[in-house]
Structure formats: C-alpha cells, structure tokens
C-alpha cells in the first residue's frame, strides 16, 4: 500500500476538561487552551526534492486569575504533574503582578459559551499519496523552467491540520478544527546581468482553508508555465517609470495594502500602546472611530471570519468570543477597530473577535483575522478604460511602513503600463510609495464581485514575545489616482 500524506504520530491521550478538573483549586478562575497542529512542508527545486518536513506542535496554555489579574503559563508536559505545575506558576505570577496590572481582568472577557467548529471539509491528506504529490511538485518546477535563463524554479506546498480546544472554569468549552493549505510556485530568471523573479500571486499569498482539492494540478501546471514566461518577459522589460501616475493594484497586491495600512493601524492593542516597543503605535486615535474619513466613499472594509475558505475564518477567537462579520470602514468612514474583549473594555470602544495566539506557547493578543475590501461595481475593462496614463501592478515582493502606519513603500513583481485606457508594455521593478489616509482617499474605482479574490499570509509578525499568525485578505482590483510610482536602479 502506498504511503499517503497523512501522518498519525503516537501521542499520549490528553483530555482538556479532565485537566481543568485537576487544577480547579489553584486560582479564582482558570482556563486551558490546548493546541495540536501538524504542519507538512513539501518543497521541490529545479526538478529535485528540496525539503520534506513535518512539524508537530502540541501543548497547552493555562490562564489563571488571582486578585483580578490573569497570568499565563505554557507547557508541553500534559501529565497531571505538568499541568498542575504550570497552573501553579500562572497563579503565582498573577498574584505577584496583580498590583502592577494594566487593567483588572474580568472572566466576562472569556464568554461562557460552548461550541464546535470545523473548517470546510475538502479532501483530507489521506486522499493523496506522498510519491504522487512529490512528483507533481517536481513536475511543477519543470513547467516553471520555460527557458535556460530560469536559474531557479521552486514549487512548495504547506499543509496544515489544526485542532484547538478551549475550556474555562466558568463553563466555556470550544472545539475548533481547521485544514489549510499554502502554495508557492516561483521562478527566477537571469541573463546579461539582469535578474528577475516571478511567482504565482507572490511568495506567500496563496493561502486558503481547504484540503487537497485546492491542488488542481491541471490548472496549476498550466499556470506555472505562465509564471516562467513572465519571469522571462521581465528580463527584457523596461523599468517602471518614476513619476506620479494612476495606480491599479491587483487583488494579490491589495492584500498587502489592506494588511499594512488598514489592518495594523486599526488594531486596538496598538492604539492602546501595548505594541509600542516592537511593531509600533498607530496614527489612529480612539476619538477617530465614527469620525475619521479614512478613505474615499468607495471604501468598505469588513472583518469577516465567516467567508468560507478564506485563510483566517473561524467561529470563535482564542478568548471564546463568537466571531461575527463587522464593518470596520463604511463608505470611507472609520467605524470600528480590530480588538478583542480585553481591548474593547480597556478602551470603551467596539471591536471584533480577534484575540488570537500563534500557538499553545503564546498568550493571545489582538490580531487581524480576515480583513477584506468589499467589491464595488466596476468591471476590469471599465477601470483600465478610465486611465489615461497609469501602472497596473501584481504580486507583492517588497513591503515597509513606519511604526505609526503612515509612510509606506511597497514593491511588486510584475507591472503593465496603462496608456489611453489600454494595458500596454510590461514593466519591471514596480514600486510605489505614499501616506495611508491620503492614499485611501485617492481610491477612485473598486472592481466588482467577479474580480473579488481571497489571499492571505501565514507570516504576520507582532507581539512580545513575538508571534506569527495567519491572516486572510480578500479584495477586488482597485484604482488609486496620482500615486508616486518608480522603478529600480542604483
């Protein structure tokens, strides 16, 4: 019988509810968050295997409240003794830090709800053989290599199986299971001192919830050829011009634009200053909610944990708050921030269910989840047709923004010039820069539902101690007027 992608390692049994009973006497209120996550990474390069790795995470985070303060202790020792020791550590730390707390903790911040959630079915890892999958990845690298000048062709797949259980001493019991995939297909072309990279939507964008059905190899292999050909096109392309032009961004770049200049500045813990020593503060102030005209009236942004298949969909956050779809920005006006119940209580502002942690060994903080730009009414032809001279950019390759989320500079893999309402020449090294609010106020057209596409990233970094988390961003293509664009060069 052939070896399938599914792995069933031998672990000792663990029952979070039974474990909660072991530690009930240790604090005024307690919770256990159990995480088991299997990350499979399969990668091929230039027709050969590059990596075959499996990362198994398994442990618990214990929250203990004493004297109105919560402290956390994480352990992978799931024996009774290990759980008890962690609970006692958390209780001791809660007691010791209570007089120095930022805010008094309330168990109401962890709703006493019970629920089960499973991400949309799809084909499990046991539906695919390892040998077959490896040969598909190798074939993909061969399709990417459309010419001798392609020096690197990479095909990579990450398959994620996650199971979480959150139980608390006042009755909370949430079980969630997720199956996710992430794909990367990329080519680097080199000739005559010129090097250019091209990938399928950017190196980390193709992230979804789903199973092996997300690998439609007929479509993917065809698209690999297109990626390789575009890497070759870029070798011969002219530099993106250095001038102020209209800028049309594809959904696979909108994801980054939304992430950096909407998602992060709206995080309530940033606004509260928790993040000031690391990623930074925010230009958004508490009094801006309900007042600030963040962008043009075409701008409608939602926190949407309910979109089927999007990378960060879930039913409950890691503090057990039921996750619902909420408008963050409507017709350009800022309405609501991205903050869980703790931040909402500290600020006295509405938020969303986004109190999330990277794994069992990190305490939850305010994260993005899915933050999407709603479709408008324009067709692609109408958007392009409305531009006399501009640039159309696809797929992120460079990103940087200041610690208040104002001044940004982003770069893309591939661009086309727009002249008199038509896409014309291919441009290499496309970059643009701007300032968040003026940029969003220049939003002049939003693509319709037909052009709305969901992407994401597995690598959103934030927090102290640091955490990377998965986020989703869906958007149609959008047009911005009068943006500083520029190309490469010394």
């Amino acid at each position: 019988m052939s070896v399938s992608l599914a792995v069933t390692p031998k672990f000792a049994d663990f029952d979070p509810r039974a474990a909660l009973a072991w530690i009930r006497a240790e604090a005024d209120w307690l919770a256990i968050r159990y995480v088991q996550e299997n990350t499979h990474r399969r990668c091929a390069r230039n027709g050969r295997p590059e990596a075959n790795a499996l990362h198994l995470e398994r442990g618990v985070m214990i929250e203990a409240m004493v004297d109105g303060q919560v402290a956390y202790a994480a352990t992978s020792d799931l024996s009774r003794q290990g759980i008890l020791q962690a609970a006692r550590n958390a209780a001791t730390d809660a007691r010791a830090t209570a007089a120095h707390r930022v805010a008094e903790f309330s168990p109401d911040w962890r709703p006493a709800v019970r629920g089960i959630h499973e991400s949309p079915g799809g084909a499990g890892l046991d539906s695919t053989g390892l040998a077959e999958f490896s040969s598909r990845l190798i074939e993909a690298t061969q399709r990417l290599k459309v010419a001798e000048e392609i020096v690197t062709a990479v095909a990579e797949a990450v398959l994620l199986e996650t199971e979480t259980r959150y139980v608390a001493s006042h009755g909370t019991d949430i079980a969630q299971r997720f199956l996710m995939t992430w794909q990367h297909f990329g080519a680097i072309a080199q000739a005559g001192g010129e090097t250019q990279s091209r990938s399928m939507n950017g190196p980390t964008a193709r992230c979804v919830q789903g199973g092996m059905e997300t690998f439609d190899w007929d479509v993917l292999l065809d698209d690999c050829r297109r990626v390789g050909e575009q890497a070759m096109e870029l070798l011969r392309a002219e530099n993106c011009p250095d001038e102020v032009l209209d800028l049309m961004l594809a959904p696979d770049q909108m994801l980054l634009q939304i992430h950096e200049s909407i998602g992060h500045p709206l995080e309530l813990d940033r606004i509260l200053g928790d993040e000031r020593n690391y990623a930074g503060w925010s230009f958004v102030k508490p009094e801006d909610f309900g007042r600030l005209q963040y962008g043009s009236p075409l701008m409608n942004v939602i926190f949407d944990p309910t979109l089927t298949g999007e990378f960060a969909s879930y039913a409950y956050d890691d503090g057990a708050a039921p996750a619902t779809r909420e408008y963050l920005i409507r017709e350009g006006r800022l309405l609501r921030g991205l903050g869980g119940r703790e931040s909402q209580a500290r600020l006295g502002l509405p938020g969303v269910a986004n109190f999330r942690s990277a794994s069992w060994n990190r305490a939850p903080i305010d994260r993005m989840g899915n933050v999407n730009l709603e479709p408008g009414t324009a067709t692609l032809d109408e958007i392009i047709g409305s531009v006399r001279r501009g640039v159309y950019m696809e797929a992120n390759r460079s990103w940087s923004i200041d610690d208040y989320r104002n001044k940004f500079q982003f770069g893309c893999e591939y661009a086309r010039l727009i002249e008199d309402g038509r896409l014309t020449r291919v441009l290499k090294n496309p970059n643009y820069r701007g300032v968040t609010v003026p940029f969003w106020r220049s939003l002049a057209a939003v693509g319709n539902a037909e052009s709305f596409k969901a992407y994401g990233t597995p690598y959103c970094g934030k927090g102290e101690p640091n955490q990377v988390i998965r986020v989703g961003h869906a958007s149609p293509p959008c047009l911005f007027r009068s943006v500083q664009v520029f190309g490469g060069g010394a």
């Binding site: 070896v3 020096v151 928790d274 000031r276 930074g280 990190r362 940087s400 090294n429 640091n466």
Partner: protein, 450 residues
Amino acid sequence: MSFVQARRQLLDALGDAVFGQLASGEDLILNLAAEDQHYLRFNGARVRQSTRVRQQRLSLRYQAHGRRVDFTFDLCGRIGSDLATSLSLLQRAREEVTALPEDPYLSVVETVERSDTHHEGRMPAMDELLTLVAREGRAPDFTGLYAGGSQLRATCNSRGLRHVFSTESFFVDYSLYTVNAAGENKAVKGLYAGRRWEAEPFLGGLGRSRQRLGLLEWEGRPLEPGHYRVYFAPTAVDAIIGMFSWGAVSYSAWKKGDSALKKWIEGDLQLSPLFSLSENFGLGLTPCFNSLGEVAPERLYVIERGRLANLMTSSRSAREYGVPGNAAESAEGLRSPDMATGLLAEADVLSMLGTGLYIGNLHYLNWSDIQHARITGMTRYACFWVENGRIVAPIRDLRFDESLYRVLGTELEAVGATAEWIMRTDTYNQRSLGGSRVPGILVRDFRFTL
C-alpha cells in the same frame, strides 16, 4: 534537577534508545531546542501580560537511501511517552523515504566531535523587577519586554557526535515615551541584557535613556526628503547588517539568483575598504555548531576591507555546487556578525558629522530593488538634526531608499572606533540566542524619499 540538566538527560536517554533502533545505512540527527522562560510585557510601566513558557522541541533528521526527512515535535519531558512518539516518527520516516525521489545533495557529518558548554546566570527576582519598573518607568512612559531564564540547544547523531550549549540569561528591551512641545510622541530605545542581573546597570541605562529623551522634547525639525549627510549609531547599523542575512552573503542565494550583492560577488561593484564583516563565534553569544553538528571556525571573514572573503556556505550548497562548506546553517545567514571598527572616536561623532542627521534606530527594512542592493526603511526613535557639530532638534521620521553600494561603498566616510554589543531580542517560536558587535558609521550622502 534544573530544567537544563533534565533536558540533557532526556536527550541522552532518547538518543541512546532511538539510535539503537537504526539499521545499517540509516543516519539520524537529533536537535533539541528548549527553553524555560518568563516573559513580562509592560505598557505604561504596568504589566500587560505575564507568560511563562516551558518548551522542548526535538527534531529528527533521518537519512537513508539518498533521501531525507525532517520531523519536529514538542517533547512532553517524560521518556516513555517521548520515546513512543520518536519511534512512531522513525517508522514514518522509513515509510516516507520509500516514496520520495532521491536527493543528491545530502551530507553526513563524518567527524564525531563532542562539546558541552553551560553559562550559568542569575535572573532578577520578579518583585525587584516589578518594583524598579513601577518606580522608574511611570514618567517617562516605560513600555517593553523582559525575558529571562534558561535556553538549550543540542545536536547529537547516530555516529556519536554530541554538542550541547545552554545558557541562563535575560534582557529588558524597552522604550521610553514622552510628548514634545508640539504634542508629538517621541521615544528612545534601551536594552539591558546579560547573564547576571544587577539593578545598577539597569538603572544606569534607564537614566541615560531618560537624558536622551529630554533632547527629544525640544521642538522638532521637519525635514524635506532629499540627500543628507548622516551618522548611523550602532543600533541603526545593526539593522543594516541584519539585511546581510537575507541572502546577501549566502552562497546558495547567489547561485539561485537571490543575492542582493551579486554584482559585488562577481566583481562588478565594490564596497568600501573601510568595511569589514566577519562571523565571530568568539563573541560567545551563540553555539558554534549548526543543526548538522558541524562546528564553524571561530572566526570567518565574509568581507575584508570591502572585498569578498567568504560566502556563507552550508554543506548542502557545498555538495550542490562543488565548493567547500564553512559550517553555515541551512539558511546561510550570519549567526554572530562582527563588524570591524574604524577610526571615528565616539567623542568626535558630532563634530565629524558637522551638519546632517544623527540616526539612532531604523525600522522595518526590506529590499526595494535586490539587484542594486537597495533597501527601504524608516528612521525611528532618537533621530536628530545636527548643525555645526551640535544637536539642535529632533526630526520627524523619514523614509529612505538607498543602496548598500553607497552606504557601505562610495559614501562611507568613517567607521566608529568602538563597537556596541547588541543582543538579539527576537522571540518568534522561541527566544533567540546570539547577537552582534557593530560600530556606528558616517555616510557622506544618504537618500531620504518620503
């Protein structure tokens, strides 16, 4: 028994049991990364989150029949259970190699070296730390992270190799915030790190940070984007040197078309003879063995007086490209960078700068055009406008987009005579080990764009 001692025993017991199961032709490397840490996050000198993390991650790198698989899992710390998981993964590894294609670039460490290093430390009592921060950090506004406790890295293989490195250490990575006369937020960054906690150096550092913060309360000087003469303090230089680990001096990145310094590696462009950079394990901040158990030379010059000395080359790259390796880790970044000092005395920095910008820190660097080694990023924290050798005003933060070929090449005027030790404070997945030693630099002409 201490956390570190218990993990050493567990690794040895697992190694003995699992290696004993191997057949001829099978190779197995075990890597253990463990920590027992207390993380305290502060905002406004108060505790935002207190998190203790006790974790122990075991990696099994299995090779047989020209194939390789890597499995990692969280040990529970009990030999019976952990051995059962390890053996189930060993069985899975054997199944996988029957299904995978051959990998021609595998390497096995033939030498059977052994080493064992432990650095003992003394962490602060939590009460003392909380009281100090509460007393000293209310005004100005203290925000930051304390991390302290034990860390262990160990590698052993089925041929008898065994390296262990463990340390007890701490850091307080903090920012002090204030508001200037114009109502703008201003901040300085501070770091106190070491193995043996003492209150005095922590308080001394806080005092110096507070003094610097006073300068930031002066009226700010908005500057237009453009070209300026700039002094980068060591913490800012450290951010630039960090970019060398994003493929710039990696052998495989160069061959794959992913190195920002391709034109320099191939001799088309030059870096300044004032610039030298080495990998220096003599700093003692991080183990000199990699995850294969290979021991790196204590010092490896990467750039010597602007010229290429060595690229970071892993065994895999060595096999693939037929060149000698230098025990680089698979990512081929710098684990212990040490930039050579120059002649610019600390006392002369402002006078040599004359009129221009003093940049204390940089933020969020990324390649903007990798072919031309161009980096974009922001100024952050303590950055000042200097006129005729005197600090006259803090600046509003600026975005830059500039090439390493200019910053560390044609425009590099002087390098600081003293270097600063900067401990790593990143804690993704686990607390990092290591740090760097870098001086400040004076740059004749530097481009700000926004």
